[in-house]
């Protein structure tokens, strides 16, 4: 066991789970988490290989080291699960999230929201005389800050994808 983290410290971990793209597989993974009392902080899923029929599920969870070890072992135990990688533990990774952020406002509010979007490199993907929808990609933390600032201007709605992540470097999963 890893000794630089105390056994009772709760840490956030990002798992990347490659699964057979078959009916019920997401339910199996989510059911495992709820059935055993593990947290899901974020979850994304999509097919990544239509030839082999694989989907990838990215799950952000938190727990003590022993709970994180259990989560990994329990995920690996599921029959349709092909590979599990703990991106937090196994090395460095890139983590990104996308958000669509709707802001309402006229006059100065429009100008302020555009300036803020520029600062965060967000794109306008829809606009009306009294609203914008911005698309922003970045770390969850960046998204939090962008949405937080928009709240002062006229935030009316947000949709977020949840985190997708991949290991840095040349190796395959």
């Amino acid at each position: 066991m890893n000794n630089d983290i105390t056994p009772n410290e709760v840490c956030e971990h990002t798992f990347s789970v490659l699964v057979d793209n078959e009916a019920g597989v997401l339910h199996r993974v989510v059911g495992l988490f709820s059935g055993r009392g593990y947290n899901i902080d974020s979850l994304t899923v999509s097919e990544v290989d239509s030839v082999e029929g694989y989907s990838k599920i990215t799950i952000v969870t938190s727990g003590t080291l022993s709970v994180i070890e259990q989560i990994r072992a329990q995920l690996e135990r599921l029959v349709p699960v092909q590979k599990v990688s703990d991106l937090t533990r196994d090395g460095r990774s890139v983590q990104r999230e996308l958000a669509l952020v709707k802001v309402q406002g006229e006059g100065d509010d429009r100008i302020n929201s555009m300036q803020l979007a520029d600062k965060f490199q967000a794109q306008v993907v829809d606009s009306t005389p009294e609203s914008f929808v911005f698309e922003i990609v970045g770390s969850s933390d960046t998204l939090d800050r962008f949405i937080g600032e928009m709240r002062h201007i006229g935030l009316v709605d947000v949709s977020r994808t949840g985190i997708v992540a991949i290991a840095r470097g040349a190796d395959e999963m």
Binding site: A23, R28, A73, E76, R77, V79, Q82
Partner: protein, 585 residues
């Protein structure tokens, strides 16, 4: 691969036949009618018509545990499928390989709240190791073969295949088992050599070792049990086997110290608590074994061998964790041990045995028979004496009688003891005995039960009688839910809340109505002759023994207490457990 087309029903029976299935336990229904029509037209796979689908699953479990082969169940859609759920979870908890086939409404009605429709794969997802919904007759053979592979590989468990009626009626190609590439599910069988060498070193240097054998050794097969026995004997170390592993090491061997845990022997629990090296092979540190986790065997280094990686470090952190099949790891271990010839500290082992013999000398299982009322322990001790040496199998239900049976019946061979360990399913015993007897028609099969559990699947007595299976039901009738009463006496100020069964039926009359020969025993002097009569009477026999209502199971480690706080008998006061919330866990 032949290009011949078969109906779904034919494919199912062909696949079962090619998987070596000779018997299935089932109950027909609307959507499985076309399959039953094919069952009618063949005689390769025998169908046992049970009284209830839950009974069918337990019967298949009994079959599987006594043969080492997967058990097969067939149920219809809706209520047929939901009735299997308790049995499936039971098999999941005890790692029993099963394949459960359920019918489903026709594909285009799925999701329409059709008659007898239930979301079977949704409901059983957490009740099975894996499950499938079949979409096309062409997939049927492949998925059935895959289900057998998944059920029997790695840590065994139940696998369910949900088959819509149109898939049974439709036609498709058949594939032989060898033509099916099992998917990417390859559990690790062989343990890491380096870790096995470390384990040998640790084990050989031990001064107070214990070998703790679990159900995984029985699941691995008879050879694994022989190897475990060989290891225990070549080291000269004490051996304890869990409730699931009784018989994996011979109970008659002086190196056997009994079962560990809540109702385990004093010597086994003290040895587990005081040992310096614990070698756990195929057990999962169940809470009924460990008691209070923080105080479990505090001074020992632990070696843990398990085929399921999620078992390692789940409750107890292992110093050496070996992922692999029990039989394979034992084989490597014995071979490497022979090569290395490590020196065992014989003087230390001798003084360890002296300590253990002192604990054994406490005779923790002693009881006082008295003259009038039959003690359940006395009845079981006599059963042991009278079946010892014969070819026998025992199933139990759940509760006090189960613990007494585990303490007082001795098993020298694996696969002879069938009990619901993990889930603790009342109603397991009678149908499990039915399944065992179907698999072993010539052997003596005794179901040790008590009236609370018996009533939960009593309809299977009809199945037993209908097929004239010579099952012997050994009913320890105390007219109360004994384990509930025991806990209420010990932890709830003797408030006997809703545990009284004294108004129950006339069991003799009931047994006879089912077609059993019934024997009544009320006097201690009749116990021996009653059991003899039960064993020598042909066909199904029901022995009703009226036993002491107020007897408690001892030794007992209260839930949440450490092993050294074991309570030996009624005269020893229970130590108060600090955390009250832990008491009824």
């Amino acid at each position: 691969m032949s290009k011949k087309l078969y109906t779904g029903g034919e494919i199912i029976l062909k696949a079962l036949g090619d998987q070596g299935v000779d018997v299935i336990f089932g109950y027909p229904g609307g959507v499985t009618l076309p399959l039953y029509d094919k069952i009618y037209q063949q005689n390769k796979v025998r169908h046992i018509l049970v009284g209830h689908e839950q009974g069918g699953v337990h019967a298949a479990e009994g079959y599987a545990r006594s043969t080492g082969k997967p058990g097969v169940v067939l149920a219809t859609s809706g209520p047929g499928a939901t009735n299997t759920v308790t049995g499936l979870v039971d098999a999941l908890m005890d790692s029993i390989p099963l394949v459960c086939l359920t019918g489903q409404v026709v594909s285009n009605l799925i999701g329409n709240d059709a008659f007898q429709e239930a979301d079977t794969t949704g409901i059983t997802r957490a009740a099975t190791k894996h499950n499938y919904l079949v979409h096309s007759t062409d997939d049927l053979a492949r998925l059935i073969h895959e289900a057998f592979y998944v059920a029997t590989h790695g840590r065994p468990g139940p696998v369910l295949i949900d088959i819509p009626k149109d898939v049974i009626l439709g036609t498709g190609l058949y594939l032989m088992p060898e033509d099916v590439q099992p998917r990417n599910y390859n559990p690790k069988i062989r343990g890491d050599r380096e870790k096995i060498e470390d384990a040998i070193q640790l084990l050989a240097a031990a001064k107070k070792p214990i070998i703790y054998v679990g159900g995984g050794v029985i699941n691995s097969g008879q050879k694994a049990c022989q190897l475990a026995t060989q290891l225990v004997r070549m080291t000269g170390y004490p051996c304890t086997t869990t409730l699931m592993a009784l018989g994996a090491f011979p109970a008659s061997d002086p190196q056997f110290v009994g079962m560990p845990g809540m109702h385990g022997t004093y010597e086994a629990n003290m040895a587990m608590h005081q040992c310096d090296v614990m070698f756990n092979i195929g057990a999962r540190f169940d809470d009924r074994v460990t008691g209070k986790v923080g105080s479990f065997s505090p001074g020992s280094k632990k070696i843990h061998v398990d085929i399921d990686p999620s078992s390692l470090n789940k409750t107890i952190v292992a110093d050496i964790g070996i992922i692999g099949d029990a039989g394979s790891v034992l084989e490597d271990m014995i071979r490497l041990w022979d090569e290395k010839q490590p020196t065992i500290n014989t003087a230390a082992i001798k003084s360890w045995w002296n300590e253990i013999e002192k604990w054994r000398g406490v005779r923790c299982l002693s009881y006082d028979q008295g003259e009038k009322i039959i003690k359940p322990q006395f009845a079981l001790e006599n059963l042991r004496k009278l079946i010892q040496g014969s070819d026998f199998y025992v199933t139990t239900d759940v509760g006090q009688h189960q613990m007494w049976a585990a303490q007082f019946l001795h098993f020298d061979k694996p696969n002879r003891w069938m009990t619901s360990g993990g889930l603790g399913t009342m109603g397991y015993g009678v149908p499990a005995a039915l399944g065992v007897q179907v698999a072993h028609p010539e052997s003596t099969v005794v179901c040790v039960t008590s009236e609370g559990s018996l009533m939960m699947n009593i309809q299977e007595m009809d199945t037993i009688a209908k097929y004239q299976l010579p099952v012997k039901i050994f009913n320890l009738n105390n007219k109360v839910l004994g384990m509930i009463r025991q806990w209420q006496e010990l932890f709830y100020d003797n408030h006997e809340s809703e545990c009284d069964l004294s108004g129950g039926p006339d069991f003799i009359g009931l047994a006879e109505a089912f077609g059993f020969k019934a024997i009544q025993v009320t006097d201690p002097d009749e116990v021996c002759s009653g059991i003899e009569k039960m064993l020598t009477t042909k066909g199904p026999v029901f022995l009703n023994i009226e036993v002491d209502r107020n007897e408690n199971v001892f030794p007992m480690i209260p839930a949440g207490a450490p092993h050294n706080e074991i309570v030996l008998g009624p005269n020893q006061n229970l130590k108060t457990v600090d955390d009250k919330s832990n008491v009824m866990a």
